[in-house]
């Protein structure tokens, strides 16, 4: 039996009320008022599709042994690198073993379902036992465009395997068209599109029925056989029309989070799938359909295992961890749309030494340190000579993963002098549960929330962006643990 073993999701903490966008930019095009409802999820200044994919991947692990993962398929249309495997950065950050198959799936917005399909078929064919699939996007609409309001940032993660699956893979059907509804050229930052009416009337109206009907006919099923139909279409009126056309009842229609997150590109159908799994019952049949340069339709049947499965924070947990982005201009600065003055410290040219990064890759990307075999002291960064003054053993260290540990705040400050996209820069010392200590930036929090003794977890984030050389550098930051509201 092949299928989904575990799932996870990630929605960034900050949400931008769409009315704020309209208040700022509506004067350019009053018709964008039609997209003004709800809020969009906005990646923090140090988040991108890689860091969100890692967060969703971690969520999907739910305590699973990460050394059992044989591969990682990463789907996104907003990968930071065109050359340098983005999935490779994710595997290092996730602490996966080196002997994994990793691939980037990009291009059309159906890349997410295609990656999931590829993982399912790799496992079914016996090519791998366990593959993680992460889909994540952080697309940008030009200020004053409808897309600026419609798009949101989010990620989903799945572990695909054999045996104890929570949702068995039952088949798929795909279509591919070079349909230029949305596109971005090789050097474009912002999405462009053709007319909405054409996208609705030719795109959604034709392709979704085609792929769904094709699937049903291939497997001899009816739409009523499904507990949930999960499909990508952000147009509200069009969803109603399609539901009616295809016989999808209100109960069967898995919400698309348009008013909580926004359209999250290649992750859209998979974020919806992760959300659907949270409420799924044994025996439920799920149909997942993507849209973008064609469509994939995938069918799953939920098993008894879902009742005993430990789950992570998921989409609903992520959604509950919410903070309002107080001003629209912050979003513009975080996305580097508005070139704000950050002072001389932001211009320091300390460029990436690839050789040094290679040597320290486990530490920098995975937050691996060492633990002394003689006295048991965990230490970060990894040391040759034990830092415990009572021990001092030489070269008796084993690798030790810190990223999955909890910690607590020992000291902190809020720094107005440091170059930051979100001053004050909050940082301080953190002690890890079980030993070890490090100085981390704190994110997704305010200075007023900080206190010594506060529990924290660790999040993979973009540490710097070197504009001159187009390099995104990553490291870990500490996130204070809050009660989910």
């Amino acid at each position: 039996m092949t299928g989904i073993v575990s799932y996870g999701g990630y929605v960034p903490r900050y949400r931008l009320d769409r009315r704020k966008i309209f208040q700022a930019m509506g004067w350019m095009d009053p018709s964008t008022a039609s997209n003004m409802r709800g809020e969009k999820a906005v990646a923090n200044f140090d988040e991108d599709s890689i860091t969100m994919a890692v967060a969703a991947g971690i969520d999907s692990l739910c305590g699973m042994d990460r050394s059992k993962v044989d591969g990682l398929y990463f789907a996104s249309t907003t990968m930071p690198y065109k050359e340098r495997l983005n999935a490779g950065i994710c595997t290092a950050a996730l602490g996966l073993k080196d002997q994994v198959r990793a691939a980037d799936f990009g291009g059309g917005l159906k890349a997410g379902t295609t990656a999931l399909l590829a993982a399912l078929e790799s496992v079914a064919a016996g090519g791998a036992n366990t593959i993680m699939v992460c889909a994540s996007d952080s697309r940008m609409g030009r200020p004053a465009s409808g897309e600026e309001m419609i798009f949101g940032d989010a990620a989903a993660g799945f572990i695909v395997g054999n045996g104890e699956v929570i949702a068995e893979f039952k088949g798929s059907y795909s279509i591919t068209y070079d349909f230029g509804d949305h596109y971005r050229g090789a050097f474009a930052r912002f999405d462009r599109k053709w007319e909405d009416r054409w996208i609705r009337d030719l795109g959604y109206d034709h392709f979704l029925p085609e792929v769904i009907k094709g699937f049903l006919s291939k497997y001899g099923l009816k739409i009523q056989d499904f507990a949930k139909v999960i499909y990508d279409c952000h147009y509200g009126a069009e969803r109603k029309k399609l539901n009616k056309m295809l016989g999808i009842t209100a109960e069967m229609d898995q919400g698309n989070y348009q008013e909580q997150i926004g359209h999250c590109g290649a992750a859209q159908s998979l974020v919806m799938l992760a959300g659907a799994l949270e409420g799924a019952r044994p025996g439920d049949r799920l149909l997942v359909v993507s849209f973008g340069s064609g469509c994939d339709a995938l069918c799953f049947e939920v098993t008894e295992n879902i009742l005993n499965k430990k789950s992570g924070r998921g989409i609903s947990g992520s959604l509950a961890n919410r903070a309002e982005l107080d001003v629209y201009e912050k979003y513009l600065v975080w996305r580097d749309i508005l070139p704000a003055e950050m002072g001389l410290r932001s211009e320091e040219d300390l460029w990436t030494r690839w050789t040094a990064l290679w040597r320290k890759r486990k530490e920098v990307l995975g937050l691996w340190g060492s633990r002394c075999l003689k006295c048991g002291t965990p230490q970060l960064p990894a040391q040759k000579i034990c830092v415990n003054p009572e021990c001092g053993a030489v070269d008796q260290m084993e690798e030790y993963l810190f990223s999955d540990k909890k910690g607590q705040v020992v000291s902190f400050t809020g720094d107005m002098l440091a170059a930051s996209y979100n001053p004050p820069a909050i940082y301080g010392a953190v002690e890890f549960e079980g030993g070890g200590k490090y100085y981390f930036d704190f994110v997704d929090c305010t200075l007023a929330e900080m206190a010594t003794g506060l529990p924290v977890t660790f999040s993979f984030r973009r540490k710097y962006y070197d504009k001159k050389r187009d390099i995104s550098g990553y490291f870990w930051k500490a996130v204070p643990v809050k009660e989910d509201k």
């Binding site: 300390l350 040391q383 720094d415 540490k463």
Partner: protein, 401 residues
């Protein structure tokens, strides 16, 4: 067992430039200014200098590497010169090297000079990552100096259960006192008296440190010429002579940074360096025996915890001492008698020698009555370079006779 250098080295002369935003002066000008005063004070000719040590830190925006900036600027007489660098302890390292050279008998008369030209960096405060190497770019928090030291306050509050409000009261007193002292000093960078209200209302730099909790970033240079006690006595007949009683430097092992025993509220290095310096100088009870101090008050909170690390205040007791005026100019152990890093200024590579200069002029009774320390016998200077969790602590003790 090594006996240390107590009374084996005498200070023959000292000089110090005016500190401040010396827009008109380059590092070379500042070196000449400090050196000219130093040489005249020593009462020797330049050709008698047998070796020299240059202390400077930010070489990329300053004078560049090697010792040549010193020998070229001063036109030294073809003597061995060496550049030393150890963060904010740089100038004390230059003095230590010069003193050790004399104590070892390698040379009779040696120059130590520190200089820094910070106002060519373009920064208010210090530049960022250059001093921390390539690893700082790849990992760790995006920190600045005030943010690193500000954390002492939150950790100290947690350790001793002293509220952040009380800590702010104490560090405000520290800054107000330094401004009062600096205002009387014609060579100091910041010469304005401030009120507690001003200090507390100032813009936040790094919580809980406001603008007045941070030291001045200045240009400046300071110098000393050291020699043997015999030469000093022969050249300075019937005059008081200042001797080196101790110079100790302690560097972190990584224990504070990585081992969880350290609580972030104090300086492990300063504590050890102080014990070593008191032993070298033969001081049993520093609270009673030390006459005055210049400590590394890069930030007001640093000065506060340093009072405990130097074994002057009891652990957890700095608040009481500070608020009672114990470290004020007319208190029992005056601290920052010349304004400190806070107001005299902090050109990194010159600060250690500037501190010794402040002690030296007090010990030789060369200061006007208004800022004079009564019965000054032993002066302590203290530098701290780096981060609270990994640093270089340097302490020197100088005294008469």
């Amino acid at each position: 067992m090594a006996s240390g250098i107590k009374d084996k080295v005498a200070i023959l002369g000292m000089g110090c430039s005016r500190f401040g935003e010396r827009w008109e002066s380059g590092a070379e000008d500042l070196m000449v200014e400090a050196f000219t005063e130093c040489l005249a004070d020593a009462g020797i000719e330049k050709k008698e200098i047998q070796a020299a040590y240059l202390g400077t830190h930010f070489d990329e925006v300053n004078v560049g590497k090697a010792s040549l900036p010193l020998s070229l600027a001063l036109k030294l007489p073809f003597v061995p010169a060496t550049r030393v660098e150890n963060f904010c302890a740089t100038a004390t390292e230059a003095l230590r090297a010069a003193s050790y050279a004399v104590a070892a008998g390698a040379y009779d008369i040696v120059l130590a000079l520190g200089v820094e030209k910070l106002k060519d960096t373009g920064y208010g405060g210090l530049p960022g990552g250059a001093g921390r190497g390539v690893n700082a770019r790849m990992e760790a928090a995006n920190m600045t100096a005030p943010g690193m030291f500000a954390q002492l306050a939150t950790a100290y509050s947690a350790k001793w259960g002293i509220s952040m409000e009380k800590i702010k009261d104490a560090i405000t007193h520290v800054s107000v006192k330094s401004h009062a002292n600096g205002a009387m000093n014609p060579k100091a960078h910041l010469r304005n008296v401030i009120t507690e209200e001003q200090a507390k209302k100032a813009p936040m730099i790094a919580y809980p440190l406001g603008l007045f909790d941070c030291c001045g970033v200045s240009d400046g240079s300071a110098a000393a010429i050291v020699t043997t006690p015999e030469i000093a006595r022969s050249l300075k007949r019937n005059q008081d002579i200042v001797f080196i009683k101790a110079i100790q430097v302690v560097c972190s092992s990584g224990e504070e940074e990585m081992f969880t025993k350290w609580d972030g509220s104090h300086f492990a290095t300063t504590r050890r360096a102080a014990t070593m310096a008191y032993n070298e100088a033969g001081i049993k009870d520093p609270r009673q025996e030390i006459s005055m101090m210049e400590v590394h008050d890069c930030f007001s909170i640093t000065e506060m915890v340093t009072m405990e690390d130097l074994h002057i205040s009891p652990k957890g007791g700095a608040y009481e001492d500070i608020m009672s005026g114990f470290f004020d100019l007319k208190g029992q152990v005056p601290c920052q008698v010349d304004g400190g890093l806070k107001c005299f200024g902090h050109p990194i590579g010159a600060s250690g020698l500037r501190m010794v200069y402040a002690m030296y002029e007090q010990l030789l009774d060369r200061v006007p009555e208004e800022r004079k320390v009564k019965n000054a016998r032993l002066g302590l200077t203290h530098n701290l370079g780096g981060f609270p969790w990994k640093n270089v602590a340097a302490i020197s003790i100088v005294g008469r006779g």
